[in-house]
């Protein structure tokens, strides 16, 4: 497949409008979809065959319009300008038709072949809203496919239409002065740049980036002359031209929606809206959050732990017996099933200890994600975050940290203030356990009783708040950025998508880390044989045993944690099961492994977002704080008891 012949198809749409789902449907691959904005934060491309053609499908992060304010919003526009897709598929969330049309108005100016995938029609029809998709197609001049992407409905029609996609001809009219001006401006770029109309409009609206972008390719001179033209048009125009353009566009949107939307006067009161309201309620919100956490804890402890123990008994014990019969002791016995055995610490740890726990946890976590509960928490936490010097916009990255810290660190680029970005990255790296770790922590502490879970997580919450307040004081203030956050609609969880996502998350876990488990076991085994491990342990024993009061074997767990969180946690679970750690030790162990250092992938993401120097500084600060916190926690717990 050479790159010349592939047809580029770019999927564009508002945040949380189902782009990734359409991507999955078209390509047959799987990328994570969730009922939350910021699920996709980087472009994703893949090639596949649709009909008789080889296509390159490009999934993009959410976009509200082509006029952008900041670098991070530029990603998609840059991709359109530089990739020059052959077809654009706009995912429209039927619930948010007007907002989608704002984007459509911009996309139509590109004059590219375009198809609209009108998504989530199941939800609008339940609400008593009917959308005339044929009328919409007529008014916009591009094909519209009715779809319910999550169930795969509409995919076949979309594929069929890809070949018939037509160039968009409809444009919003802004009156003679502007329309003629845009044509004159566009004419100067015509031969060089296919999207000259769009570029002219953006220049007229004083988009902060378009000048630089065009100047890079077409030279300062040309851009200056067009800029002069734009100034002249603005001069001929009284008042704020931007507002005028937005006003005209909104008028067009109102006209279109008036023609295509029919609403029943009475709609069923939606139970899901009730749930949404309650989950953000100032009084009921907190108990609901606590109940959700408790339910997860309960299920992880009572289902996952039991499952894991049962699997160990059923699958591991026979293997162990067999190997002991063949190699009663000695090198091979140790290598296979010894303390650092490839089978015991490697395979069994991953497959029998960690996998069942993650399975249960991801099932619950993905259900919450599908409901859309997690981003709705941003309403509850807004005020707390203000105390930490963070605007409400910082909530989403923080909350997403409970899913995957690496992704969460990458989403901090949506934060406009540098100061906020630093605080949020620090908090994610320091005090927030990722989904895998959260599940495993629940499992470890579950064996000690709910009290230990409450203590450990109160400590984590406390140090998170304390660290935020500390950073807020240290880092110098910037102007406050107002908080505007779109919340995903609360939905009933749908079993198939949840199961599918759980399957893929477990599959990725095995694919990415099964070998890491084995290599880590091998490395520890070798280090142990060479006596290095003992030396390290002896060196660290004042800290591990002295300060933290943990068994020396925890050194191995902490080392494993660097490689892969789950490997370290799996090792700890076995320590607890074998009775090598008591109540206090388990709590301290969970706190130190959660806070001490983020995993390798997160560190790489931090380096990418903050630069190497700052990352290093942060890692040192995190390491020291983790030791101080865990050490004093142990001291306090012992004193109290």
């Amino acid at each position: 497949m050479d790159s010349e012949s592939a047809r580029k198809i770019m999927i564009v749409g508002l945040p949380n409008s189902g782009k990734s789902q359409v991507f999955n449907n078209l390509t047959g691959e799987y990328t994570v979809v969730a009922n939350s904005p910021l699920t996709t934060i980087q472009l994703k491309r893949t090639r596949c065959r649709i009909g008789n053609q080889i296509c390159e499908i490009i999934d993009t992060p959410g976009l509200h319009g082509l006029y952008v304010h900041s670098e991070e919003e530029l990603v998609v526009r840059d991709a359109i300008f530089s990739d020059r897709p052959d077809v654009i598929i706009q995912c429209m969330d039927a619930n948010r038709l007007k907002q989608s049309l704002t984007l459509a108005a911009d996309l139509l100016t590109l004059s590219l072949p375009m198809i609209i995938s009108l998504n989530a029609l199941d939800e609008t029809s339940r609400k008593g809203i009917w959308i005339d998709s044929e009328g919409l197609s007529r008014l916009l001049g591009v094909p519209v496919v009715e779809s319910m992407a999550i169930y795969g409905q509409g995919t076949r029609e979309l594929k069929g239409l890809l070949e018939k996609a037509r160039r968009a001809m409809v444009k919003v009219r802004y009156g003679d002065v502007i329309d003629d001006g845009l044509l004159t401006m566009g004419a100067e770029l015509r031969d060089d740049f296919p999207y000259n109309y769009t570029a002219s409009l953006l220049m007229l609206r004083k988009d902060p980036f378009i000048m630089g972008q065009l100047a890079k390719t077409y030279g300062d001179l040309k851009v200056k002359s067009i800029q002069k033209e734009a100034d002249e048009i603005r001069g001929r125009f009284r008042g704020n031209i931007n507002r005028f353009i937005i006003g005209k566009r909104n008028r067009w949107i109102d006209d279109v929606t008036e023609k295509v939307i029919k609403k029943q006067k009475i709609a069923p009161r939606e139970f899901s809206q009730r749930v949404a309201g309650l989950s953000r309620h100032p009084v009921y919100g907190l108990p609901i959050l606590l109940m959700v956490i408790y339910a997860m804890f309960y299920l992880v402890v009572n289902v996952a732990n039991v499952l894991s123990e049962w699997m160990t008994a059923m699958l591991w014990t026979p293997v162990e017996t067999l190997i002991t019969r063949v190699f009663p002791s000695g090198f091979w016995h140790e290598l296979c099933i010894g303390e650092y055995g490839v089978l015991s610490l490697g395979l069994a740890n991953a497959l029998l200890t960690v996998l069942p726990i993650l399975g249960v946890f991801f099932l619950l976590f993905n259900t919450l994600e599908d409901i859309g509960y997690i981003p709705n928490l941003s309403v509850m936490t807004n005020r707390v975050l203000n105390k930490l010097g963070l605007s409400g916009n910082a909530i989403l990255p923080l909350v997403l940290g409970f899913g995957c810290k690496t992704m969460a660190v990458l989403t901090t680029r949506t934060l406009r203030s540098k100061r906020e970005r630093n605080i949020v990255v620090f908090l994610i790296a320091f005090s927030i356990p990722c989904a895998a770790q959260l599940g495993l922590n629940m499992s470890i502490l579950g064996m000690m009783g709910a009290g230990s879970f409450i203590i450990a997580f109160s400590v984590l919450a406390f140090i998170g708040v304390a660290a935020g307040m500390g950073l807020n004081m240290i880092l110098k203030g910037e102007e406050k950025i107002p908080f505007i956050q779109e919340l995903p609609a609360i939905r009933f969880p749908r079993p198939m998508p949840v199961l599918k996502k759980t399957y893929y998350r477990l599959y990725w876990f095995l694919k990415e880390s099964l070998l890491v488990f084995v290599y880590a076991a091998l490395a520890l085994f070798t280090a142990d044989r060479l006596g290095i491990l003992d030396a390290v342990k002896r060196g660290l024993s004042p800290v591990i045993e002295g300060v933290l009061g943990l068994p020396l074997a925890m050194t191995d767990a902490i080392i494993l944690c660097f490689a892969r969180r789950e490997a370290g946690a799996g090792f700890m679970i076995n320590l607890v099961r074998n009775g090598e750690m008591d109540y206090i030790q388990s709590i301290v162990a969970v706190v130190i492994t959660t806070t001490f250092a983020p995993c390798f992938a997160t560190v790489m993401a931090m380096g990418k977002e903050l630069g190497a120097r700052r990352t290093l500084m942060m890692m040192v600060a995190i390491g020291i704080s983790a030791l101080v916190v865990s050490g004093s926690l142990r001291w306090i717990l012992i004193t109290i008891r």
């Binding site: 619930n95 007007k98 704002t102 953000r280 409400g392 908080f483 609609a489």
Partner: protein
Amino acid sequence: MKNKRKDKEEYLERLWELKEAGSESLDDFMRAVKDDYDPELLDSLTSDGLVELDEKEKRIKLTAGGADQARKIIRAHRIGERLIFDIFGGDFETAACEFEHTVTAELVDGICTLLGHPGECPHGMPIPKGECCRSKASTAHKQVVPLKDLEIGQTARVAYINTKDDRQMHNLDDLQVRPRSVVKLHQKYPCYVVECEGAHIALDEEIVSSICVWSDNEPNESDKSELLEFGRKHRKRRGLDFLFGRKR
């Protein structure tokens, strides 16, 4: 004489606009007034002490007194535009002629109240009395209030958004929070949650304060029973009376 005053005011307006644009150049001024340029008029403005003209340097600017007068004219002009703009939704050039066709009885009552229930039109013909005159209402039924003053569960149409920040305006516009959109307030604490065109949006107090809505809009049928809605309306109006009274 009357026309001359109007022309002078036009000049003062243009000069104010130049001031806003940061220009004192006579050329810019001549460009702004185009064919209506009249040196005599400028002279008389100068002799009135409203304008400072430096013909050598080709500079022109308002004096303190001139700026004061220009400010009043501009204010009147823009408030007028604002009124029509908010009610008719943007197309204020042609809106005036459409006035009697577009306006609702409710709105006429509101304007009538604001004008103190006038009995005659400017031509001296009697104005038929409305509901508001009979009840001697002292508060306009429809009023623009900040969104945060709505009660939870209330629906209202956005009148305008008070923001100087272009970026904030864009952010809100991307979410279709803009004049003429219908919003519903769901929650005020810990932060504001507003429903707009099918999406839920969390906002902080600062932004919610900058959004102004027409209060007392049509109640949302699906939401509360008539009785509850009725009670709320009355409560609301008393609250506004209080506000209005205090202002006076």
